[in-house]
């Protein structure tokens, strides 16, 4: 089984560590990810705020490209690690399958630019692929350096499981927890697994965005987490990169490593720091590991 890989814009810049570690983990598991050729931005939340139909048209080009790249596959699985890309592409795929008239407009426009779309694409999150296609048993076989005693707060964020919960329980998701436990880590139970990190508000209405992220970091700390694991480049960025500013703003030292779940997996698999993009972290993970 092969998968097309849709990185999205963030995984090529602020979230590059996510791309590096995801590719490394899938490589270790002998499940190659092939990048979608000439993919374009999914549109994220901002495009939808301006124009609905164009937002769907923009995202739909990626679906058509995926079919073009795998013309003989009955089903084309596209793996989108960024939660926002995952949601936008999934929503677009649903929109085009709904037969509300507008789906035809978009399909016609796609055809007119030489990208006919039949509807064979499935949008998958890597957590879904790891758990349900590859399976915990196989993954466990690759663990070389278990994350002994590392207390992890798994943080799922919003858009991976809302409004569409395609592979996990949106009220108390477990997929990341299961993976971390399989890596030998210890997961903490906390009630904010899917509470919003502030998303783009950290960049626009900073006082609100930072507060939302700060709430998450403090609660993870209060519950004894050594590290927060994320599955979204924006969540990771918000939680990690503003900790200095939060410390100033709230007169409260914030120092909590925030990594991608795939970085933790790669560590357990024995990949190098560099292969996993760990050197790019603002808040290093070493002290937490050293204490164990």
């Amino acid at each position: 089984m092969s998968y097309l890989y849709y990185p999205g814009c963030s995984l090529k810049s602020t979230g590059i560590g996510y791309e590096e570690s995801i590719l490394q983990v899938f490589k270790t598991l002998h499940t190659p990810l092939e990048e979608l050729d000439d993919w374009n931005c999914c549109g994220a939340t901002a495009y939808m705020a301006v124009d609905e139909l164009k937002a769907y048209a923009l995202a739909s080009r990626n679906l058509a490209l995926a079919e073009k790249q795998c013309p003989d596959d009955p089903v084309v699985d596209v793996v989108a690690p960024c939660a926002a890309c995952f949601l936008v592409l999934y929503k677009t795929q649903q929109y085009l399958a709904k037969k509300n008239g507008k789906d035809l407009q978009i399909k016609q426009a796609l055809k007119d630019v030489g990208l006919p779309y039949k509807g064979k694409v499935r949008i998958r999150h890597p957590l879904d692929v790891l758990l349900n296609d590859i399976g915990l048993e196989k993954i466990k076989n690759h663990v070389k350096q278990p994350l002994k005693g590392l207390r992890v707060a798994s943080y799922y964020g919003c858009q991976m499981l809302r409004p569409y919960a395609t592979f996990d329980n949106p009220d108390n998701p477990q997929s990341m927890d299961q993976l971390i436990e399989a890596m030998g880590g210890e997961v903490i139970d906390w009630p904010l697994k899917t509470r919003c990190c502030g998303a783009s508000l950290t960049g626009t209405v900073e006082e609100v965005g930072l507060r939302l992220s700060y709430i998450l970091l403090k609660e993870a700390e209060n519950r004894g987490a050594d590290v927060i694991a994320t599955a979204c480049p924006l969540c990771q960025f918000n939680l990690e990169c503003y900790q200095d500013r939060m410390s100033q703003l709230y007169h409260d030292k914030v120092n909590m490593p925030v990594v991608y779940f795939s970085q933790l997996m790669g560590m357990a698999f024995g990949s190098t720091q560099k292969d996993l993009g760990l050197q790019r972290l603002f808040v290093p993970l070493e002290p937490a590991l050293a204490a164990k």
Binding site: D171, W190, P191, L192, I215, E219
Partner: protein, 666 residues
């Protein structure tokens, strides 16, 4: 009765188009339909009239039968379910066999389902043409009368079943009361006080329970379930399964010496009656006033029954030698004339809304659990305490849990606002805690209910209009530490709030029993997609069902409180009594018959008949139908390859002619 040879006499048809006020006339040009009907062959009179079902409307038909010599009548109006009996009777009173009457439904099938007056008029004409064509082939039929069995059965021993059974028994009918639990009493027996008067539930219920036990006209079968129902109104045959108690019910007096002697020294199994808040032993009585006052042995936890090995101390100490570990299921077959279903409800499972933390946080309770906790005979002797044994200083009561919610139950459960007020009062009285009621809308319509709400407002209970978004243990301030935090918008103030409390009560809604669909099939009645049993008419036949002789009482028909339940139980008993006291039931003459000339003896129908009404006559080589057993389902008619099986009121000819009527018009 007007006598004529319907085979040779020329049909003289009268057609009447009803306006039903503007119900029909608003969407159908009734005068045009009447004028059209006049053009149809054999129609000697056609007119439209404001309300055909009124006395003058019926008088019009009767006058025309007498003066114009009508021998067929067609009324185009509402559903036959509503007024077919009315018009049949009008015809009969004027001397015409009532089965020469035919009804066309131009209300439910036309005016109520179209906004288009032109299309409505056209369809009405087609339906009238069909009825005119069909009525010419109707045959005079006689309704048969059969005697009614004077006994009744009540299924379910909650307050609805108890009240219905006592009412029937007091009127001299013999009643079989079937209850599936070891005791009667239902949910009401679990409550502490009842709203709005705050009278003690046990004080008013237990006398009625012992009345049931002691009534000479009541046979109480507890720990029993209806297995099978056959027959029809006035003559039901019911098979009841009696589950083994492993106790001789007749001799046990409930002395409880066996419970003390049980090899399990301490109670360690969840007592279902206390929702698991109190433990019991394998041999137990659910609560002290249980009726019948006998013990039950739980086969799942009893060592003798589950492992086959026990010292049997219980049996040893029993002074009346009641134990019998070899008991098995037994069956009782009884004949009854009427059945009242009073099977009640189940409460919503709070776990289905994970955001409220039920099952996750130990101090989140369901309202029914709190009923037990505040009950003086409950697991804590009426002390409302937290899991750590302390009294709560603040309590949140969340309304509408599993009600008014498209993801769980869309309907309003009707009783939760009032019982939440009651619990707020009781908790305040016992703990002096701050109480916060989170409600969407306060619904207190009932005698003395709004006054009770007033009283709670005076008592200083907080009312916050807003549906709770989340219950969590995520503290943001020092005061919130160690508490359960309620997050909700105070919608009247327009601001989100966080309120820390010690205890949360989920006012869970009422649901139909999980097996409601199975039960309704057994009794051949219908239910809504939520599982509530359907009444025949929401206003005018609220305790009857579409199946004659089967009546409804209490919450199995929909959520309702105790006063409404008791009123309905009384009504159901009265309806059953009216049927029984009449002594006879009339059967619709829609039975099937076999045309002996056409029957080829293939026996297809014999195997198909669900009522075993058809037998093969070996000597004649044909099928013979027992009319007394036939229910008129039509299965044999559809199955018969030679057209020998026909059904009165639905002969092939009648149906084909009806089609011809429509097609000729179209």
């Amino acid at each position: 009765m007007i006598a004529f040879d319907y085979n040779t006499a020329t049909p003289r048809i009268g057609v009447y188009i009803c306006h039903c006020g503007i119900n029909i006339a608003g969407k159908v040009k009734v005068d045009e339909v009447a004028a059209f009907a006049k053009t149809l062959p054999h129609v000697v009179k056609s007119c439209d009239y404001k309300f055909m079902c009124s006395d003058p409307g019926q008088e019009l038909i009767q006058q025309d039968i007498r003066e114009l010599g009508l021998n067929r009548v067609v009324v185009a109006s509402c559903s036959p379910l509503l007024h077919e009996p009315t018009f049949r009777k009008a015809c009969a009173d004027a001397g015409l066999n009532p089965f020469f009457f035919q009804m066309a439904n131009i209300r439910e099938h036309v005016s109520w389902v179209t906004p288009d007056k032109e299309a409505g008029t056209e369809k009405a004409k087609a339906l009238v043409a069909a009825a005119v064509e069909r009525v010419q082939h109707n045959r005079p039929l006689e309704k048969k009368q059969v005697p009614v069995n004077a006994n009744a059965m009540v299924v379910g021993g909650g307050i609805a079943g108890i009240h219905a059974a006592l009412t029937l028994a007091n009127s001299g009918k013999h009643v079989y009361l079937v209850e599936r639990e070891p005791t009667i009493g239902g949910h009401m027996a679990m409550f502490d006080k009842t709203f709005p008067t705050l009278d003690c539930a046990a004080c008013i219920l237990t006398p009625k329970m012992s009345d049931v036990k002691n009534h000479p006209n009541i046979t109480l079968w507890s720990y029993s379930e209806v297995e099978q129902v056959e027959g029809y109104a006035g003559n039901f045959k019911v098979k009841v399964k009696r589950k083994p108690r492993y106790i001789n019910e007749e001799s046990c007096v409930g002395c409880l010496e066996c419970v003390d002697a049980c090899v399990f020294k301490t109670p360690r199994f969840d007592n279902e009656f206390d929702l698991g808040l109190k433990k019991r032993k394998p041999v137990y009585m659910p609560f002290p006033q249980a009726t019948p006052t006998v013990v039950t042995v739980d086969p799942k936890t009893c060592l003798q029954l589950s492992k086959g090995k026990c010292a049997q101390k219980c049996a040893e100490v029993c002074p009346k030698d009641c134990f019998d570990f070899t008991q098995t299921e037994t069956y009782e077959d009884v004949d009854v004339g009427a059945i009242i279903l009073a099977t009640g409800f189940q409460v919503f499972d709070g776990k289905r809304i994970p955001k409220y933390g039920y099952g996750k946080y130990e101090n989140v309770y369901s309202s029914l659990e709190v009923e037990r906790l505040v009950n003086a005979s409950g697991p804590t002797q009426g002390e409302l305490v937290l899991k750590n044994g302390e009294k709560p200083k603040s309590v949140a009561i969340i309304h509408c849990v599993g009600s008014r919610d498209h993801k769980t139950n869309k309907y309003c459960s009707r009783v939760c606002c009032m019982y939440s007020l009651k619990l707020a009062h009781l908790i305040k009285e016992r703990t002096e805690a701050e109480i916060y009621n989170f409600y969407i809308d306060m619904r207190t319509p009932g005698k003395g209910y709004e006054e009770f709400y007033d009283r709670l407002l005076e008592e200083g209970v907080h009312f916050i209009r807003g549906r709770v978004a989340e219950v969590s243990d995520w503290a943001m301030t020092p005061e919130e530490k160690g508490k359960l935090i309620i997050r909700a918008e105070d919608t009247l103030i327009g601001m989100p709030r966080r309120i820390p409390v010690d205890m949360v009560v989920l006012s869970v809604g009422l649901e139909a029993h999980k097996d409601a669909d199975e039960v309704r099939r057994k009794f051949n009645i219908s239910c809504s997609h939520e599982g509530w049993f359907h009444e025949r008419h929401p206003k005018l036949a609220p305790v009857s069902t579409a199946t004659d002789g089967i009546f409804l009482a209490g919450a199995c028909q929909g959520p309702k409180d105790i006063p409404d339940t008791v009123a309905q139980a009384g009504a159901a008993a009265a309806e059953a009594m009216a049927m029984i006291d009449k002594g006879v039931v009339e059967l619709e003459p829609n039975t099937a018959y076999i045309d002996e000339e056409l029957c080829c003896g293939c026996r297809t129908c014999v195997g198909m008949c669900p009522y075993s009404a058809i037998k093969a006559d070996e000597a004649l080589g044909i099928a013979v139908l027992n009319e007394a057993l036939c229910k008129g389902c039509g299965t044999c008619v559809a199955a018969c390859p030679s057209g020998a099986a026909q059904q009165n009121m639905f002969t092939d000819q009648q149906i084909f002619e009806e089609l011809v009527g429509v097609l000729n018009y179209v």
